[in-house]
């Protein structure tokens, strides 16, 4: 077991300059601060930045930082390569050729800003600010910066991760948690306590379900996956629910290898066992839960045998896992992105909440900790919406269907409705897009070929990124160079602690996201942007919107982090900390955890959980399954890349040169595929190719493909476009296919067929050529 006390005792604090935020070490200036994307990740680990002559030379982890204890993944270790890469954008550019030709001319920031300001003002006047779409990606600036700029600066209610159907990432788990509990929860791996694993109140979870994610690689949603490995070393047992074997699954007491897209049935089956065998926490349920009777009736419809058949997992394993989870105290659930990437998203979320609620694991040490962002820096996507001009909120492009989108609890506009508006001009035309921190075509865009066509239809596109991407080449008119991690002042929380980033270098004319936002915001809507610079913008967020008592400089000088007491307190519901009226209980209509959330009913959803078959599956489309006999799951993370980032970096490509399609060796033999063969993956919607790698940890009828590949080493101009469609699973994913309430997207369970790429036989037309020159995949041209 890694002994935390021993670790802290043995660290040579002098050697790591405890108490200093900047010092000299030989020829290097060393700065103690935090990383925040770009390049990417949802996390901010403590770093020591080594700079010389204004250049980042080396990055080390900071062993005195309690968040990550000096540990770094290879993306931060390799940051100097990313930051100093010759492909980076150095100056603002304006397009001089046609879109797609990759012809640009260097312009000044003033010219860029002037052009944009003029355009925005014209569009606002002629079409209304709602005809501008604000597009963002994940991590980085989505927490408060871009929503503020888009709503307060561009004054548009249409903010979205574009071409991303069904809000298929994270938000639904947040919304579902608020519906059931009035708060969000995370696995308590001691991260709220500054003294971490030594904290006297804390204990490691006795059992952790890792569900639909591979956290040691993904570090999603502000949670460092390797905290779980530390918990394992302190005794935590694992249950892993995943169609694919992961490192964690190989060490789990139970690995439930579900058929992709059937997770809600698994949750119901486990509830059936726990309620049926009376393994739940009666005291907690009696006192703090609502709706057990109705839930019991529903889960009675899902006995383990039935669930075994739906999920293709032996009934005995389902029972065993449910018993282990219920009998372990405390237990926790590390849930992941797969929750939203199936259409059972909302029932799966509420059923999972019921699992950890009825077993008494909410807000207990080592259970599911109720968290808020440190110092109440809580507002995210709705930050700045108070500056929307009157009547604009009503113009937000939401789905008509009665559902969550309509109730505006998801602060985003609906990507599908915006897509429709771009394509048809209904209910009003989309004239401009501002894209910052999203390589839409390479990564989030479902039905990427359709997204490509749609982007081309938008009159004016501003694109801000550290690198030239295929999305920029295809569609941008003005490109702005964005500063990376060590080139920016910023602050963020995403739970705790509050952390700051200190600018130590400048790359040519690149500006940080915050600087661009402030510069442009001051021009467009000075009332909402009284900030002189980036630091004032950041302070407005942490001090005024949140309640951090210090300044940005004070936070920096403290070494860049500050913990927050609220998050460290357990059983907040007993202490009157959750409700506005100060009473005990939860901030829900009943004051209890609602196993059948009233809010679901209000949104037109069934408050009781249920299983629903994926739209394409051996069960729902048996005819199609005959021709497309494999289920493709996609999107698993790798050590080297964060989504579409890092593909330029030699160090990463040395470890991971090609996009990999994993398949069971049995399946490979059936299709005469050898390890390392390039393989076409095809559905009626199109095809793409990846390199085969054998992996026995998949069922023979399931394959896994990687997402977000593009090839910076290939020609930028169309029809090459960095090969962005060649290996892109989003050639196959649908836009507009969603779960009930407009939430969830079935992109981890799609039916496909595979065949070898054969030179001269079926590789005449590459997908990128097909999309950029032949109007897309009306037919697959071989």
């Amino acid at each position: 077991m890694a002994d935390y006390k021993e670790f802290l005792n043995n660290i040579n604090r002098e050697a790591y300059h405890e108490g200093e935020w900047q010092w000299q070490e030989g020829e290097y200036t060393v700065t103690r601060t935090y990383h925040y994307s770009p390049p990417g990740c949802h996390n901010s680990c403590g770093v020591l930045l080594y700079t010389k002559d204004g250049k980042l030379e080396k990055v080390e982890g900071d062993p005195l930082d309690p968040h990550s204890n000096g540990k770094l993944c290879i993306r931060c270790l390799n940051m100097p390569e990313a930051v100093n890469h010759p492909d980076r954008l150095k100056y603002p550019l304006k397009r001089v050729g046609k879109r797609g030709e990759n012809k640009w001319e260097r312009i000044s920031w003033d010219e860029a800003y002037d052009t944009i300001e003029k355009k925005v003002k014209e569009i606002k006047k002629e079409y209304g600010s709602e005809s501008i779409v604000g597009i963002h990606g994940t991590g980085r600036n989505i927490n408060y910066q871009l929503p503020y700029f888009y709503q307060a600066g561009l004054e548009t209610p249409n903010v979205a991760v574009m071409f991303f159907t069904g809000f298929a990432c994270y938000l639904p788990r947040v919304v579902g948690s608020f519906a059931a509990m009035g708060e969000f929860v995370i696995v308590d791996a001691s991260q709220a306590h500054e003294d971490r694993y030594m904290n006297e109140d804390w204990k490691p979870p006795a059992c952790i379900i890792v569900w639909g994610n591979d956290p040691v690689k993904s570090n999603g949603d502000g949670f460092l996956g390797h905290w779980l490995v530390q918990c394992m070393q302190m005794g935590s047992k694992l249950i892993v629910i995943d169609p694919r074997l992961t490192w964690l699954a190989a060490r789990a007491d139970y690995w439930l290898q579900v058929r992709p897209g059937t997770d809600a049935a698994m949750a119901l089956g486990m509830l059936n066992v726990i309620i049926g065998e009376d393994l739940y926490d009666h005291d907690f349920v009696d006192k703090w839960c609502f709706g057990l009777d109705a839930l019991s009736q529903r889960v009675a419809e899902y006995p383990a045998e039935k669930v075994a058949e739906i999920c293709d997992v032996p009934a005995e394993k389902i029972r065993g896992a449910a018993r282990l989870f219920a009998k372990s105290k405390p237990s926790a659930v590390q849930w992941g992105l797969a929750f939203e990437q199936q259409i059972s998203c909302m029932p799966l979320t509420s059923a999972t909440i019921s699992l950890f609620a009825i077993t008494g694991n909410v807000d207990v040490p080592g259970g599911m900790l109720m968290v808020r962002a440190a110092f109440d820096t809580q507002r995210m996507y709705n930050y700045g919406e108070e500056f929307l001009p009157e009547g604009k909120m009503a113009k937000k492009l939401n789905s008509d269907a009665k559902g969550i989108a309509e109730s505006s609890i998801v602060p985003h506009a609906s990507s599908d409705v915006i897509l429709h508006a771009i394509e048809t001009g209904e209910p009003y035309p989309i004239k401009m897009a501002w894209i910052q921190s999203s390589n839409s075509l390479a990564c989030p865009a479902m039905d990427a070929p359709r997204a490509y066509e749609a982007l081309k239809k938008i009159d004016f596109i501003v694109y801000a990124d550290p690198y030239m991407t295929p999305t920029a080449v295809a569609a941008a008119d003005i490109v702005l160079p964005v500063a990376m991690s060590c080139e920016r002042n910023s602050a963020r929380s995403w739970w705790t602690p509050l952390r700051s980033m200190t600018k130590v270098t400048q790359y040519y004319e690149a500006k940080s996201d915050e600087e661009i936002i402030v510069d442009m915001g001051r021009r467009l809507n000075p009332k909402a942007f009284p900030f002189k610079n980036d630091v004032e913008f950041i302070e407005a967020y942490i001090k005024n919107d949140g309640n951090y008592p210090g300044t940005f400089e004070e936070l920096r000088n403290k070494g860049g982090h500050e913990y927050w007491e609220w998050d460290t307190i357990y059983r907040k519901y007993e202490k009157g900390m959750l409700r506005e009226d100060g009473n005990q209980g939860f901030a829900t209509p009943t004051g209890r955890i609602e196993l059948t959330p009233n809010a679901y009913g209000f949104w037109g959803l069934d408050p009781l959980p249920y299983h629903i078959e994926p739209p394409e599956s051996p069960v729902s489309t048996p005819e199609m399954f005959k021709e497309y006999p494999l289920i493709m799951t996609t999107g698993g993370r790798s050590w080297e890349f964060f989504h579409s980032e890092h593909r330029q970096l030699k160090t990463m490509r040395e470890l991971h040169p090609d996009p990999l399609m994993m398949l069971n060796p049995e399946t490979a033999a059936k299709y005469d595929i050898k390890e390392g063969d390039w393989v076409w993956i095809e559905s009626p919607k199109g095809r793409f190719k990846q390199k085969a790698t054998f992996f026995p940890g998949l069922k023979p009828y399931v394959i896994h493909t990687e997402h977000a590949w593009w090839f910076p080493e290939k020609e930028a101009a169309e029809p090459s476009l960095f090969g962005v469609f060649d290996s892109n699973p989003n050639n196959l994913t649908p836009a507009g296919v969603v779960g009930k309430g407009g939430i969830g997207s079935p992109i981890k369970s799609m039916l496909v067929k595979i065949y070898k790429v054969e030179e001269g036989v079926n590789d005449q037309v590459m997908p990128t050529m097909q999309v950029t020159r032949m109007g897309g995949f009306k037919n697959v041209t071989k």
Partner: protein, 121 residues
């Protein structure tokens, strides 16, 4: 070198928990400034394969090459070897081999790695 020549230093790997994250490899590459293809420490991977209905074999284990100098400069400054400092899984320990050996209790899979630190025969 500040290391006492009488003592032998090593790295204990609790490889039951090595996730194969590559951080040791890359931290070392950066520390020693190694070109493409060269490593001071390199991961080996065994598996995955299925042992029986419920068990899988999937093991990672890093191995130090002849390029490893046990981070003698860093250690002289009081810092941890770079691979140990950055190991995400907390599965590497640096120290004097007798001390490290005490951690080996047969409850986890461990290996004590030692490089050549003085002339042998």
């Amino acid at each position: 070198m500040s290391q006492n020549n009488e003592k032998t230093y090593g790295i204990l790997i609790n490889y039951e928990y090595c996730t194969g994250c590559h951080s040791c490899e890359i931290a070392c590459k950066k520390e020693l400034n190694l070109p493409e293809g060269q490593f001071g420490i390199k991961l080996t991977e065994i598996g995955p394969w299925q042992i029986n209905e419920d068990k899988w074999e999937w093991t990672y284990m890093p191995v130090m090459t002849n390029l490893c100098d046990m981070c003698s400069d860093r250690v002289a400054e009081g810092k941890l070897p770079s691979c140990v400092q950055h190991c995400q899984a907390w599965c590497m320990y640096y120290g004097e081999v007798d001390e490290l050996a005490k951690k080996i209790d047969g409850k986890s899979r461990m290996a004590l790695l030692v490089t050549k630190q003085r002339d042998g025969n």
